[in-house]
């Protein structure tokens, strides 16, 4: 049996986040809520964000998804909590680039924290959308907040 590739996709760190996701639940102080789904598979994420002083003050996610989407959301929330909006926007861009397979900017990828391990998902094209779902939700939450200013 050829499970070699698999341990690439499912690193222990990914499984840990998927089994015990951080910032999972509802956020009472949220001022932005975005619900996104992956229409091909039915995965849903609800991301709630509290923005204060041009920062992501707090955030939480809920919904239903595979281990890749859950782990990715958990890692993302760890990373961006407390960061400034420009910083977060740059990280979202780096993450999405990384999952399109263009990661020439290796140092930027290092700045993604745990989420950097999700680079291996590129080898599983059918799963890329699972990894990007949370990040797209965050991008939209920040975008909507900016529109309302």
């Amino acid at each position: 049996m050829n499970l070699g590739n698999l341990s690439d996709l499912y690193r222990q760190l990914i499984l840990d986040h998927a089994q015990h996701p951080h910032h999972h639940g509802e956020l009472a102080s949220a001022d932005q809520t975005v619900t996104l789904n992956n229409p091909t598979c039915g995965d849903v994420i609800k991301l709630q964000v509290e923005l204060k002083d041009n920062q992501v003050a707090d955030l939480a996610f809920s919904g239903d998804g595979c281990s890749i989407s859950q782990a990715s959301a958990s890692m993302m929330t760890d990373l961006v909590k407390g960061q400034s909006l420009p910083e977060v926007q740059h990280e979202i861009a780096t993450f999405l680039e990384m999952l399109m397979g263009n990661n020439d900017a290796d140092e930027d990828v290092d700045a993604l924290g745990d989420a950097a391990v999700l680079a291996t998902v590129v080898k599983f094209p059918a799963r890329i959308k699972c990894a990007t779902l949370a990040w797209k939700a965050l991008e939209q939450a920040i975008g909507e907040a900016n529109n309302h200013e």
Binding site: M1, N2, L3, L6, C41, G42, D43, F124, R127
Partner: protein, 408 residues
């Protein structure tokens, strides 16, 4: 020529390959089936020797192409026991069902009329009815399922009333595998004067279907799910209803006479087949139907039943695995949908893929059914005539591997 089901696998070149270092175990036949060499050859032969546009040319080549295309219509009619002019070629089941909903039902429905469908419908036999209901003010009502994943016929009986104008249901559920009692359901609908539309996408290719015996008003299926090419499908309709039904697409080929302000359409089936049709694909479909006929229904049914029974028994033994739909037996067709407790279906499908096992994970275009079952996604293994017991063994072994990998 009578072919043998035991060696049928050798007729499908695509199956002879490795995926991720393992033999390909193709178990996504409900999504689309693989094509036998005879179908591939029919497409090649058509393009190499007969290609021309049909119905228009007076030259020999065009006549040959027309004859081949119209010959398949005759063949489909024989295959489903209908009249030749009751067979319309479409792009597939989805197009067939949309044409009935938009070209026939929309004209007839009045506000407060009722359309009955079932909670197990594929989106293609659900969304068109929802749209038509929204456009006409008709009400959309649902037949529910019982704990075995079979339709609740008592509740269906209660839904039926003189306001029921259309009843649309699937012959076989693409998720639960349930074979619905379509003949009885058709009779019940006709008793209140409703039209019956059947989605046969998961039935044709697995057992014989007979329009005259079923007595339904419309029946739809896809070429690519019966070992034929993509891009071709069939809509059967009773002759007198097709005469009333309007085309949804207009253009070349479907007309008798076009003047500046008005057009006179040809009679069915031509009036529905606007523009250049998928000619090669129709001819490929003909080759696929010939192939199925050469194997024979009893061999196909017996073979698929033995596979699904073995798979059901072995899946049932896996701890923490839930199977949806009826037990293996006369009401279950050749597919099994399940969930492994603690592992998301996508993760299951990815692990299975590393073992060469191709299954489908997701909502299977049946979101209202997923909502009814209380799950967001499921994993589905669906069988075709070329699968064998070794495929079942590989599926089971890969699932055991999945459980070990995720430690559930």
């Amino acid at each position: 020529m009578v072919k043998n089901i035991a060696t049928a696998r050798n007729d499908f070149p695509i199956l002879n390959q490795q995926i991720n270092g393992e033999p390909l175990t193709y178990l996504d036949n409900a999504a689309t089936t693989q094509k036998p060499q005879v179908v591939i050859d029919a497409l090649t032969h058509y393009y190499e020797t007969d290609n021309a546009n049909i119905h228009r040319g007076v030259y020999t080549l065009a006549e040959r192409a027309t004859e081949a295309y119209e010959g398949v219509r005759q063949q489909v009619a024989n295959f489903i026991n209908a009249q030749t002019d009751e067979v319309i070629f479409t792009r597939g089941t989805t197009t067939s069902l949309n044409w009935v909903a938009l070209g026939f039902a929309r004209q007839l429905l009045q506000p407060n009329d009722e359309i009955i469908i079932t909670v197990m419908e594929h989106h293609s036999n659900l969304v068109p009815w929802q749209q038509v209901a929204l456009q006409t003010g008709a009400k959309l009502r649902y037949i529910e399922i019982d704990e075995h994943g079979e339709l609740d016929l008592t509740q269906y009986g209660e839904l039926l009333n003189p306001k029921t104008k259309f009843v649309a249901f699937t012959h076989v559920s693409n998720v639960l595998g349930t074979i619905n009692p379509v003949k009885q359901m058709t009779k019940m609908a006709h008793d209140v004067g409703a039209y019956v539309v059947i989605d046969g996408a998961q039935a044709v290719g697995h057992f014989s279907v007979d329009m005259t015996d079923l007595d339904c008003d419309f029946y739809a299926f896809s070429g690519h799910k019966v070992y034929g090419p993509t891009g071709i499908g069939v809509l059967y309709g009773k002759r007198e209803l097709l005469a009333e039904m309007n085309p949804v697409e207009f253009g070349g080929e479907m007309i008798n006479l076009v003047e500046r302000q008005t057009t006179d359409f040809k009679p069915a089936p031509a009036k529905f087949e606007a523009g250049t049709m998928p000619i090669a694909q129709a001819i490929g479909l003909g080759a696929a139907l010939d192939y199925l006929t050469s194997l024979g229904w009893s061999a196909i049914e017996e073979h698929e039943q033995s596979l699904v029974t073995a798979a059901y028994q072995q899946l049932n033994k896996i701890d923490g695995l839930t199977i949806y739909g009826p037990a293996a037996g006369p009401t279950r067709s050749a597919l099994i949908t399940f969930n492994l407790n603690g592992v998301h279906p996508h993760d299951v499908a990815t692990v299975l893929d590393t073992q060469g096992v191709a299954v489908r994970a997701g909502h299977h275009c049946a979101q209202p059914l997923m909502q009814t079952l209380g799950v967001s996604a499921t994993t589905r293994a669906s069988f075709g005539l070329y699968n064998n017991l070794a495929d079942v063994e590989r599926l089971i072994a890969a699932l055991v591997e999945t459980k070990e990998f995720f430690q559930v």
